[in-house]
Symmetry: C2
Subunit: 136 residues, 2 copies
């Protein structure tokens, strides 16, 4: 049986550039912000960014935040092994945290199943204030 984890191939040039932009940022970037940052490297059109992002998300290197229409580099080593990740998005500093909690995942699965819903993909995004910003 195939391992469901994506065996990550070497990144292409465009994929590397987009990954680099996201890795350097300490907050989510929109596709168009990435495009602007990479114009000096030859990027001209949104599709170049979106195609790279599609692959990077597929590889599990990047997450998409639905509530921001933005993308963030994964900082969570064990990410691919988790079914459900909760993202914490600080509205003060923009930083994104990743929480993977088994009991939370089980709870979500359970409440869904109780209504007969078969969940395939879940989005959990929390907006608020991170610890660092709250301390200020």
């Amino acid at each position: 049986m195939e391992n469901s984890l994506q065996a990550r191939p070497d990144l292409t040039k465009n994929q590397s550039l987009v990954m680099g932009a996201l890795a350097q940022a300490n907050a989510p970037l929109s596709a168009y912000t990435i495009l602007d940052q990479l114009r000096d490297h030859g990027f001209r059109a949104p599709l170049q960014v979106y195609r790279a992002l599609d692959k990077l998300v597929e590889f599990g290197l990047v997450h998409r935040l639905e509530c921001l229409n933005a993308f963030v580099a994964c900082r969570h080593p064990e990410c691919e092994a988790q079914e459900i990740i909760a993202f914490t998005i600080c509205e003060a500093c923009g930083q994104v945290g990743e929480i993977s909690d088994d009991s939370l995942a089980r709870r979500i699965k359970k409440v869904a199943k109780e209504t007969g819903f078969q969940s395939k993909k879940s989005t959990v995004e929390l907006r608020g204030i991170c610890q660092a910003c709250h301390a200020i």
Copy 2:
């Protein structure tokens, strides 16, 4: 102390029209789909829809689904009393369900708090197959 629940005033004409479109639909509608449906009633511009949607969401009569950029009428009588609602979105029939489970809400609050995150607003959206579609 003011009640945080919105005392719902009568809806204006535009708000009623948008609410009607969403109430009739059995799946989420995008703002532009609503606009098209209401052209016969004098709607000409997206802003007329977005302004009505803003109010309806504020009143708790409509929910916005982040992962779809779409809006759905609330089918959940006790909705406003719940801090956290999980939406189930069927990828087969499009129907949206609302789950409010106290233990899930507590769990989410708890895992966030463990990382020092102060959550203000949460988005929980599950995509998959609903019971009816699974039975087919």
